[in-house]
């Protein structure tokens, strides 16, 4: 398995993705968050069509209140993963609505630790 990790500050995420992303070649998998207590680690997963076991991962860290830039300008299908982040982690994602999965009487931000 070949993994190429690119660590960037949060505000550079969109620029970094824009530099390499090309819809004929790259396949966007998903965006994932891991709670580190007080802040989250965000990972955007990409892979190439037709290449064996290859991942390119863009890594950034964000606090709970920081605004996370959306990638929907580059990748129109990214909205659903971003809304999920906003819903299940209670993060502030640009342009996301809450209520994709949770009901008014469900616990808030269930995937945070503690």
């Amino acid at each position: 398995m070949k993994v190429e990790e690119i660590k960037v500050p949060l505000r550079d995420v969109r620029r970094t993705v824009k530099e390499f992303y090309n819809e004929n070649e790259w396949h966007f998998i998903t965006v994932n968050a891991v709670d580190l207590g007080g802040k989250v680690e965000l990972k955007w997963f990409f892979t190439r069509y037709g290449e064996d076991e290859y991942f390119r991962v863009v890594v950034a860290q964000a606090s709970y209140d920081e605004e996370i830039p959306t990638l929907t300008y580059l990748i129109p299908s990214a909205w659903i993963s971003e809304w999920e982040l906003a819903d299940l982690f209670g993060l502030n994602v640009e342009g996301a609505k809450t209520g994709l999965f949770l009901e008014p009487d469900s616990p808030r931000a269930p995937l945070r630790r503690g």
Partner: protein, 174 residues
């Protein structure tokens, strides 16, 4: 016309998934298919609550599905029977105490027949539905049609959501 006779010969099913893993749903579909053939009892699967007699519920009832389940239940005409299919519909199963789950169908609406199994086998589902038909028969005998009341004067326009909230309130208190 005497509808009771036809009801006995051909009970109709309504199936609703309240958050199960799909396993029980495909087994219900398999029941209706040629090998097990639930249709030989005259049973048809039609997705219309207003014409159905048997409500088959799968899944542990998630918080968003709860309101729809109650609404479907109230839309069905009396007498009716409810069959809970699968381990998670009976008790919550593997999903018990997860944060968005209400641990079983009987926390929300009254259940007549429980069919256990993960996923419930088609034979068990057929057995459960056959039991449900017996119960339906019994319920029909005891059933007293409601007296026609005088027209109640409603001050505000009838609102489905309002009525539903009222019913939910009564249910939660009791």
């Amino acid at each position: 016309m005497d509808f009771k006779k036809f009801r006995k010969k051909s009970p109709w099913l309504l199936h609703y998934n309240t958050g199960s893993c799909n396993g029980c749903d495909i087994e219900i579909l398999a029941c209706l298919a040629p090998k097990y053939d639930l249709e030989r009892f005259g049973i048809l699967n039609r997705g219309n609550p207003k014409q159905s007699d048997v409500l088959i519920v799968t899944g542990p009832v998630t918080k968003r599905a709860r309101e729809r389940l109650i609404r479907l239940y109230f839309e069905m005409p009396e007498p009716k029977v409810v069959v809970a299919v699968g381990a998670c519909a009976c008790t919550g199963g593997v999903f018990r105490h997860m944060y968005n789950v209400l641990n079983g169908v009987d926390k929300v609406i009254p259940v007549d027949v429980y069919v256990p199994g993960c996923a419930a086998r088609p034979e068990a589902i057929i057995d459960g539905v056959a039991k449900a038909l017996e119960i339906l028969e019994k319920k029909k005998k005891d059933f007293v049609p409601p007296k026609v009341c005088k027209n109640v004067e409603v001050k505000e326009p009838i609102n489905r959501k309002f009525l539903l909230e009222k019913c939910l309130g009564v249910k939660n208190e009791g």
